[in-house]
């Protein structure tokens, strides 16, 4: 299947990010005309059952399931942590600047005991949730509207092209001036940074809906809303999820940046303060929490994707 992604280079680039999704979709269309041996009786027909495709956490690795490759991955992390600890304990690196795994654990305890960490996580989670939630809502509904109605597309697409190409962080001083140091400024920043992957993905998905399926729905007298619900929405789900996956990462960037500059609160604020006080261990606590939550969220999302996309049988 050739995936045609219309629109500007940005969209094409975006579609490339979606490689895995497009491949998944492509595999569903390869079995069209090979029905010879199965035409007689469906009960005896061999039916392809298979694992639902899904990219794994470690991007390139092809066989994530095997015990050997899993063990190597775990070992890789353990070796780096051990080396870090050894270098730090033997004084090969400055313990105050580099900290150490054990030092990070101690900082973690300290931050919990002081009651700092819980509050920081809650603050960041709230900002992340509100920001990404808004971004997803705007991206999903806006994307369908822009992709489906040409006029709407003509109005908004130049703005999307401009904003998606530029580093949104450059707008931060303006947001600070217009909305002040407040939660709303942080939310606006997170939304601005994370809305475009979902938005552009949904636009591309809406435009890639198989026109033959739309004609089919119309031939059964389907009304526009019914066509949207039964054809357009289901076929853009993979694009939507691929967009959300990228948006999660962007939203985390947005959260940290906003907290650095607009509120000095949450995990981002904790990291900045710790850095200013040369508390490397605390910086690593914050960084680790960001990394772990990012991995957890992408894993959860892949589970959801696998469940929704269970029709994409290999």
């Amino acid at each position: 299947m050739t995936m045609m992604v219309r629109g500007n280079d940005k969209e094409n680039h975006h579609a490339m990010l979606y490689g895995s999704v497009l491949e998944n979709m492509a595999t569903t269309e390869t079995h069209e005309q090979d029905g010879f041996e199965m035409a007689t009786d469906p009960t005896t027909a061999p039916v392809r059952r298979g694992r639902v495709l899904g990219p794994n956490v470690f991007g390139g690795a092809r066989s994530p399931g095997t015990l050997v490759s899993r063990s190597i991955s775990v070992a890789s992390i353990l070796v780096v942590l051990a080396a870090w600890q050894v270098f730090s304990s033997t004084g090969l690196v400055n313990q105050n600047l580099a900290s150490s795994p054990w030092g990070v654990v101690q900082s973690f305890r300290f931050l919990i005991d002081k009651g700092i960490l819980g509050g920081a996580i809650a603050a960041s989670a709230e900002l992340f949730g509100v920001g990404l939630g808004l971004a997803i809502l705007i991206g999903a509904f806006g994307g369908v509207a822009i992709g489906w109605w040409r006029v709407v597309g003509s109005i908004f697409e130049p703005w999307i092209a401009i904003l998606y190409s530029m580093p949104i962080i450059a707008l931060l001083p303006l947001i600070l001036v217009w909305f002040g140091i407040a939660f709303r400024s942080e939310v606006i920043m997170v939304v601005l940074i994370s809305v475009f992957p979902v938005l552009v993905g949904v636009i591309a998905g809406t435009r890639n809906v198989d026109p033959m399926l739309i004609r089919l729905a119309r031939s059964f007298c389907g009304r526009e809303l019914a066509v949207m619900r039964t054809v357009v929405v289901p076929s853009l789900v993979p694009y939507f999820i691929a967009g959300v996956r990228i948006s999660i990462g962007s939203a985390l960037v947005g959260v940290v940046v906003s907290e650095y500059f607009l509120g000095n609160s949450g995990i981002g604020g904790l990291i900045v303060t710790a850095g200013e006080n040369l508390q490397s261990g605390q910086v690593f606590v914050g960084v680790t929490i960001l990394a772990v939550s990012a991995v957890l969220m992408t894993t959860l999302l892949r589970r959801i994707e696998r469940y929704i996309g269970r029709w994409q049988v290999k």
């Binding site: 595999t27 569903t28 269309e29 079995h31 069209e32 005309q33 090979d34 029905g35 010879f36 041996e37 199965m38 035409a39 007689t40 009786d41 469906p42 009960t43 027909a45 039916v47 392809r48 059952r49 198989d210 033959m212 399926l213 004609r215 089919l216 729905a217 119309r218 031939s219 059964f220 007298c221 389907g222 019914a226 039964t230 054809v231 289901p234 076929s235 789900v237 269970r310 029709w311 994409q312 049988v313």
Partner: protein, 257 residues
């Protein structure tokens, strides 16, 4: 539940080229097509590519504009109608729906209540021999099974007129014959008026009560050939002398088309 179809002086033109630079070229696809199709009959339309046979079918389905007059059961065609079902060449099953849900799809769009929808779909699945595949997704079905599901979906809405656009065109020869035999028996039993587009002479004769030959560029009716053989027809009939004679006549007609 079988409709009559009256096609009167139907023309269809596509405008090619932009009007910005001089006169746009008008490409005539259908030229004064007139056909009367009797209730319960299967009319097969055969023609070389470029004869506009698919376009004619889309016009009857209400999916293309046209000039002239097309009446189905006395209703002038100006858009899709719930009593007309169309089967396209590719199965066009919704990949995220199971076979059963796909067969229910037309009924769902026509707002048939869920319970009745399911019953009717189950019955059709049985009719086309797909009951055991009811919970499989299209990607798990062979090409032949997908096309059966496609036909079941169309028949589920209990159409008075069934429009088929080369539905077996992309299947291998053996699957194709098998489905042809099942299909003509099914349509004869259900007494549904059928218009069937094909580019396969044997298929046109085997399935049709009447074969219409169209010419290419533009599409005109060259020949209308009645096929007297009563339905259902065994596949062996294809080997008979009467079949061969019809085949030779249509072949001659298509050579000049």
């Amino acid at each position: 539940m079988s409709a009559s179809v009256k096609i009167n002086n139907v023309c269809k033109e596509f405008i090619a080229g932009s009007s910005r630079r001089g006169i746009p070229t008008v490409h005539r696809v259908l030229d004064n097509i007139s056909l009367d199709i009797n209730p319960g009959e299967t009319t097969t339309i055969i023609g070389p590519s470029g004869s506009g046979k698919s376009t004619l079918l889309l016009c009857v389905a209400g999916l293309e504009s046209y000039t002239g007059k097309i009446e189905v059961d006395g209703h002038c065609i100006a858009g899709p109608r719930p009593d007309i079902a169309t089967v396209f060449q590719a199965p066009h099953l919704l990949p995220w729906r199971t076979t059963l849900a796909n067969v229910e799809y037309g009924l769902e769009l026509q707002r048939v209540p869920p319970m009745e929808r399911k019953q009717r779909a189950e019955r059709l699945l049985e009719l086309v021999g797909l009951t055991s595949a009811r919970n499989l997704y299209p990607a798990q079905l062979s090409g032949g099974m997908q096309q059966r599901a496609n036909i079941a979906r169309a028949l589920a809405v209990e159409p008075h007129l069934l429009l088929m656009d080369e539905p077996f065109g992309a299947l291998d020869a053996i699957t194709k014959e098998y489905l042809q035999e099942e299909f003509q028996a099914l349509v004869a039993r259900q007494q549904v008026t059928t218009v069937f587009i094909t580019h396969d002479i044997a298929e046109a004769i085997y399935l049709g009560n009447r074969v219409v030959v169209l010419s290419a560029n533009p599409g005109r009716v060259l020949l209308e050939q009645t096929v007297e053989e009563p339905r259902p027809r065994p596949l062996e009939w294809k080997q008979s002398e009467s079949f061969q004679k019809l085949s030779a006549r249509l072949w001659q007609a298509l050579r000049v088309a």
